[in-house]
Symmetry: C2
Subunit: 287 residues, 2 copies
């Protein structure tokens, strides 16, 4: 692809750092600039060769960029867009990596002047690790990236952003913002809430002789609660930004759990088996 | 340890098959006999050298055994104990591998005549795979095995059973039956119920444009739902056999989930972060 002159990565964490590495490795930009609030971290990222330069001042960071990628938690995206708006060059493309799209796309788009082109992105990569120390240039390989164009989206900016993600090794799929938020509410946000709550329920269970029960856990529990290690601030923001779909999904989950509770209470062996078998079948589709 | 003359393994599946392999490998028994209902499977296990002999008739299988290990689903244990009781030699030791202990120990103990010694066991090994084809002689290595003696348990039978599990590579811990059932209700049974229900909730979520949302899942969802692949009949039986603790734990989980639901609805950002952070801390204890 035709490289960008300067890509500015706002938030050099796991995703931002990994994107910076790919840009450098594949020559996707003449210059990769990192923006953050902590100069020590940015300096370290520069020393590691992850970014070419850095700034802790937003104007300096973005004023010469033809692409700005917002890689900070979803709650910061609207305020950041507003803060950088006066300094962006006409024709500059702005994208993000937020896990929620309807509120985020609205927040960002409303802050940017017309000659700046915003395209919502959600690369499905990451995990419970965070920080640029965990970043790798192959984080995105073989993963999916969702882009969420709206009627306002500039078609050539959309193509450029798609191209960028394809260069990182991802398969790019377009979804509308609401569709995106229901899909990821189900496959990502709800599972995180459930993992956190399950971990708390188990952590707070004690028996008459043992202070805690966790020491008896096996591999199954380690797997099911792995995402309970995820960053609390990040997931707090995601749940709040995707409030409506997340609440709907919690309601559906609670209803299904209440049903299985009655099935166990009534010892309806056949229905209980059917319920678990249905889950087996859905699980097969994940493999 | 002093080897048994004949160990009869009732149910040559993942656990039974793995125990048979260890017994053969370490010479823990003069003879390992497998009992089951499907001669083809038992023949295959014999051909593979997992067992020395087999029987599909319970009398033949157990009448010369000095140790019988019940490795079938928990709902079958009481009826099997009753069926084999007339054929067991005085002094014979019977143990099991059931994931639930209070109801199971009661069911088995009440069926066996006094000169036969029952010791409840629960080796914490296995996983979502099943069948002797998946069995290995190192399945138990480094794992925990719970034994659940009661005031009626014969002390030398208890020692023999402990020794057996230690020989498989496990660390043996004694718990009383109720303690066991609360602990494993929390760290194992509740997580399975939650994984099944989460899988069903996600599997039954559709959006206006997509028939299913599962195709957008990432590694996080694969991990959290891995145990939703577990055998439905096995887990149906476990939930029913450990009904009271499981219902209590479902109630605690529902309460905690309801609380987080309100927290999201009220946008109480600080409380939501604290809730997720608590889960982070409990999760650290699992590592």
């Amino acid at each position: 692809m035709n490289p960008f002159e300067q890509i500015t990565i706002v938030g050099v964490g796991l995703l931002g750092g990994s994107l910076a590495r790919v840009c450098k490795k594949k020559g996707l930009a003449g210059k990769v600039v990192g923006f953050g609030r902590t100069p020590e971290k940015l300096k370290r990222a520069q020393e590691l060769g992850i970014i070419d330069a850095y700034a802790t001042d937003l104007q300096t960071a973005v004023e010469h960029a033809d692409l700005v990628v917002l890689c900070t938690p979803v709650s910061t995206l609207g305020p950041l867009a507003s803060e950088m708006a006066p300094f962006l060059e006409p024709g500059c493309i702005v994208t993000d990596v937020g896990s929620v799209k309807k509120t985020v796309v609205g927040d960002i788009q409303s802050q940017l002047p017309d000659p700046v082109h915003f395209v919502g992105s959600h690369p499905i990569a990451g995990g419970e690790k965070s920080g640029f120390e965990a970043s790798t240039s192959d984080l995105f390989e073989q993963q999916k990236c969702i882009v969420t164009p709206t009627p306002k989206t500039n078609p050539s900016a959309l193509s450029r952003v798609k191209e960028l993600w394809e260069q990182t090794g991802m398969r790019v799929i377009s979804l509308d913002v609401e569709e995106h938020d229901t899909v990821f509410g189900a496959v990502s946000h709800l599972p995180h809430v459930i993992a956190y709550i399950l971990m708390n329920t188990i952590g707070e269970t004690s028996t008459k002789n043992h202070a805690e029960v966790i020491s008896f856990s096996g591999g199954g529990l380690r797997d099911i609660t792995r995402i309970a290690s995820s960053n609390p601030v990040l997931w707090r923001d995601i749940c709040l930004a995707n409030k409506k779909p997340v609440l709907n999904l919690i309601d559906k989950f609670q209803e299904a759990l209440q049903q299985v509770r009655s099935t166990i209470e009534n010892e309806d062996s056949q229905l209980l088996e059917q319920t678990f078998e249905r889950a087996n079948k859905y699980r097969l589709n994940l493999l």
